[in-house]
Amino acid sequence: MFDWFAQLGKNTIEFYARLGKEILLFIQTLLAFGPVLMRPGLITQQLYSIGVRSMLIIIVSGFFVGMVLGLQGYNTLVDFGAEESLGVVVALSLVRELGPVVTALLYAGRAGSALTAEIGLMKATEQLSGLEMMAVNPVERILAPRLFAGIISMPLLAAMFSAVGIFGGYLVGVDLLGVDEGSYWSQMQAKVDYDKDIVNGVIKSFVFGIVTTWIAVYEGYKCIPTSEGVSRATTRTVVYSALVVLGLDFLLTALML
């Protein structure tokens, strides 16, 4: 009985010790933004590999999601004779929900997994140790620029996803199914509110940017430095990111409605 209690106590203490270390590392990384901003070259390099190189998958996916929304939305709306509202349906679904969420999920799969694998392999090949011994702090040199670039990239990618999606919805709704072009755009303009809809979407994608990029760099930094360890860390990045993004999405939506 006492053993059981002792074990419970030990596990609890270990859990909080680990949590404390994780939070401390996060704070250290945020504090390292200062010195990193003095060296914009490090950030642009990461913006390219995290952001620019994720654009293709984001744009193609956004286009198809928008087309599907156009199709599904039209089929439902036409029953009520409200197909002119298609623009609003497509835009609101994208800007408020699908843009931030699907972008975050795709980002975790494309850039997040790559970040974890990159940092994990740097650890496995002693590059991180090497940096430390060259008196270069890996938190400042490796983690901070990647986190910063991720936080900037995500809202931009989500905006791109939504914009391309709206165009996809337009192609299907207006060009293919014959919804009036004027109503598609004007209703969208009238009903999509800047503060309520667009800003909320941007806040969401900003939060998702922090969370998914942090999970990715943290998992890479803390992984067991073997091929199996890196592979597990990469899997964890994608799984945790997906779960946290979907959970947080509900929370943020509830808070912001």
Partner: protein
């Protein structure tokens, strides 16, 4: 604590364990300035761990590691990074940054820590590369280098900031005889020419005995012997004998601890 005699590093009563396994159980080591000190011992005795303890990458549970009279484990991060600029480390894998060319790898510590103009950095990088014989390989990527070349590039990078001490982690492992000879020669000549202090962690007896001034043999968490290469060769300690002469069995057992062989076999019947 004041700096004592001519030891650059003084390790006292060092205890370190990982989980339940004790790696060091109270070891004392002195690393004299300007000399090559070799730390030897069978695989898995924590030789690399010892280098990480000297470099402050790991913290011991007990004991002190003095570098220039200052205790490394109790240093704050900022101070530790300052001290590390006086150390160079050659990793077993080379630990070259794979997204940079050979030239940029060697320029890296200079660009990070100095404000030198690019022209001067170029000259210094070429000098370091010339010292290791790889000036012609400056534009190659680390993936295009052979193991021996990668280690020489890493060596050039380790001396980039003109450190006082270089820590070598298994420099001879997996080298062909030619690169091995080149490395042995380089380590010795650089130590003397640049007035460095070198610490070599290795289990390659012949090469290490050939260049070391002082040798420590570690086994099962303790220092089992130390002295000059001659003293090691002539020692009558069974530990040292087994290691120096490469005997499969002795105080360091050939078998990993297990229950009796007979019992184990009969259990399956």
């Amino acid at each position: 604590m004041p700096e004592i005699d001519n030891n650059l590093v003084r390790i006292r009563d060092l205890h370190f364990s990982r989980g339940h396994s004790k790696i060091f159980n109270g070891i004392d080591i002195d690393i004299p300035k300007g000399k090559i000190t070799a730390i030897m011992g069978p695989s898995g005795t924590g030789k690399t761990t010892l280098l990480k303890l000297i470099g402050g990458q790991l913290k011991p549970q007990r004991g002190t590691v003095f570098f220039h009279g200052e205790d490394i484990p109790s240093m704050k991060t900022k101070k530790l990074y300052e001290v590390r600029k006086k150390m160079g480390m050659l990793f077993q894998s080379g630990a070259l940054l794979t997204d940079m060319s050979v030239f940029d790898n060697i320029a890296f510590p200079m660009r990070e820590h100095t404000e030198l103009p690019e022209v001067m950095i170029r000259d210094m990088v070429l000098m370091k590369l010339q010292a290791v014989g790889l000036r012609g390989a400056r534009d190659l990527n680390p993936s295009q280098l052979s193991g021996g070349m990668a280690r020489r590039v890493a060596l050039a990078r380790a001396i980039a900031l003109d450190p006082e001490m270089i820590l070598y982690d298994e420099p001879f492992t997996g080298q062909d005889p030619i690169s091995m000879g080149a490395l042995v020669e380089l380590i010795r000549s650089m130590n003397d020419a640049l007035e460095l202090t070198s610490v070599i962690v290795s289990h390659d007896i012949h090469e290490t005995l050939a260049i070391a001034d002082k040798i420590y043999i570690i086994s099962q968490g303790k220092v089992v012997g130390h002295g000059s290469p001659q003293e090691m060769n002539q020692s009558d300690s069974p530990w040292i004998n087994q290691f120096v002469h490469g005997e499969a069995d002795g105080p360091v057992p050939f078998h990993y601890p297990a229950c009796s062989y007979k019992d184990d076999i009969l259990q399956g019947v």
